[in-house]
Symmetry: C2
Subunit: 354 residues, 2 copies
């Protein structure tokens, strides 16, 4: 299967705290950035169209996107499963349906995380051989490289075979999309020594140790940040707690530091002089630079972003979708699972995205 | 039982990366700070004594401590359980034995965490009615108040009744030692809504919801830092991962920011002007200000600190031990467990420390 010249990404324009403004702003930025991108803007047409001009979605660019009207939107008060019954006409459900129907290669949503996951898992469907899709988060580490932490919330109460699959899918993502050669894989645990951890971590490590991968054994919480591992696999419960804790802590530190610097005239002057250096560093940490988390293991590409995403974060999320398509992530995931766990994954048409 | 005028704390002088220097420095600082402190310095006498003068452990102060010679020390290569057989004469084991024998009210160690936990749990023993002791970490939150996260590593694969006890013990610690009135308790989960989480979190929440406590339901990773909860309870696996991740992330951010500021002359000048303001903030985050983590639920006081503790962190650890004694933490824990879970906790002499 040759890569298509153009990747068709369905954007849930109504999803996110700042939708449809942030999503349309991000859409325009992404179209400018990626020549091989075609967008399908899914949402309330009457709310989207009046904004096109403002966000520059006009002229030549208008050829590179189309609009699909979706009458309803999933709100934070809705249950994730509403898209299966009451809200089949919601923007996230209709965007996912495009992937299912082969009309789009991927979907990007900054809306209701649960609904986006249900839409991806149940409407688009999982890849053959994948027991459970998982959400991967790309973290910047102190070595200036990315660390893939997964699962960060698609599953709880995972079994060892699930976490082992998360690790393999994360390694494929690190290698193929992020360009990390032979990524070092770790299983998150409470100590470096082999025996340390839970029944889950020990059984997961045992399964991974037998495979032809660069397996580094147990990783600890600190290893998410120090570059000792390229991929850190865990159950979605702990990954989700880690991700949310890290976001809040990083923000708290930067705000606290700013408040402290702004509290005196001398330090305020100092802060002014150091501002661009501090900004440069903060940008490295900024979730908006990373955009969304890829949901790995589904029959297509799905990127799930932060509800509070701004235009830059939306553009980064679309970028993640384009990269996943360009690097044929699903073909590689299926090949890896087939090679590593031949009993689980039949080789075949690995979904429409890759 | 009246509070004794003086609290006798056994210090594992040989424990920690910078022992015996950091421990003796911390011992001297703690003796100066706490008039009601009497220290028992447990360690290799031939290595300790020559340093006493250097650290000011002389003159009047010499009346306020004594020395107990311990021939061996637990190293990082040792198994935690070595103190039960081969290394009964190690400084941590002998320090714990003093508490067991009623010769000390508490023990403080910056050494091998596992060995310190085994010594506390098995040599000193658990409080009546406590199924599993747990390690509590006091985190500074963005509201300028402390959040107690527990368990951060004493147990893995905990059951709901264990995590519920962790929550109650953490609440007692927050109220009695940290002075938080009617602390708001949360169970760490992956979403705010009641149903979100694992079998463990749902069952824990159900148990806590029935009690006369200020129970706030599910907490998320971010709630460790935002002050929404005073106490966040979880299994030791996830708590340990969260603690180690947070330490490494905070350090990474502060180092990265410093490097960025030092990379240009203008920002370096700015950094110089803002230095004291930044230091003031960093101090708030500094683990050395918090010292050690109290192991709650044992027949005495046990504070387990970071291996890399400096003198200031050791002094903070000793301070935590003194505070736990002063506030009769164990009496309150037993009363709380008896009141809340009458089937579990007989009221009685609640250990020798409190």
């Amino acid at each position: 299967m040759d890569a298509p010249a153009v990747y068709r990404i369905a954007l849930d324009v109504m999803g996110g705290d700042h939708a449809p403004h942030a999503t349309l702003e991000g859409a325009a930025a992404a179209l400018q950035r990626h020549a091989d991108l075609h967008l399908i803007l899914v949402g309330d047409e009457s709310r989207m169209r009046p904004l096109f001009k403002h966000y520059g979605l006009i002229g030549d660019m208008a050829e590179r996107f189309e609009v699909l009207h979706a009458p309803s939107v999933v709100t934070m008060e809705d249950k994730a499963t509403c898209i299966l019954k009451d809200k089949k006409d919601s923007s996230i459900r209709m965007a996912a349906q495009l992937v299912k129907d082969g009309l789009a290669d991927g979907v990007v949503s900054m809306g209701h995380t649960g609904a986006a996951m249900v839409a991806s898992k149940l409407v688009i469907g999982t890849l053959d051989g994948v027991d459970r899709p998982c959400l991967a988060s790309v973290m910047p580490n102190t070595q200036g490289r990315p660390t893939v932490l997964l699962d960060v919330g698609a599953n709880v109460d995972s079994k060892p075979e699930h976490v082992a699959q998360f690790a393999l899918m994360g390694a494929v993502y690190a290698e193929e999309v992020l360009g990390v050669a032979r990524p070092r894989i770790g299983v998150l645990s409470v100590g470096e020594e082999d025996g340390k951890g839970t029944e889950l971590t020990r059984a997961t490590s045992q399964a991974l140790r037998e495979l032809d991968i660069n397996f580094g054994g147990n990783a600890e919480g600190r290893d998410i940040w120090n570059g000792n591992f390229d991929v850190v696999a865990c159950d979605g419960f702990v990954g989700n707690a880690l991700l949310k804790s890290a976001e809040a802590l990083a923000e708290g530190i930067l705000h606290g530091l700013k408040d402290s610097i702004m509290s005196g005239w001398l330090s305020r002057l100092g802060g002014l002089l150091a501002k661009s250096a501090m900004r440069r560093f903060v940008k490295k940490l900024d979730y908006a630079e990373y955009g969304g988390a890829p949901l790995l293991g589904i029959q297509g590409v799905s990127i799930i972003g932060h509800g509070r995403s701004d235009g830059r974060a939306v553009a980064s999320g679309i970028r993640a979708a384009v990269l996943a398509c360009e690097h044929r992530i699903n073909e590689h995931i299926q090949a890896s699972l087939h090679r590593m766990l031949p009993q689980a994954a039949p080789v075949g048409d690995g979904g429409n995205a890759a």
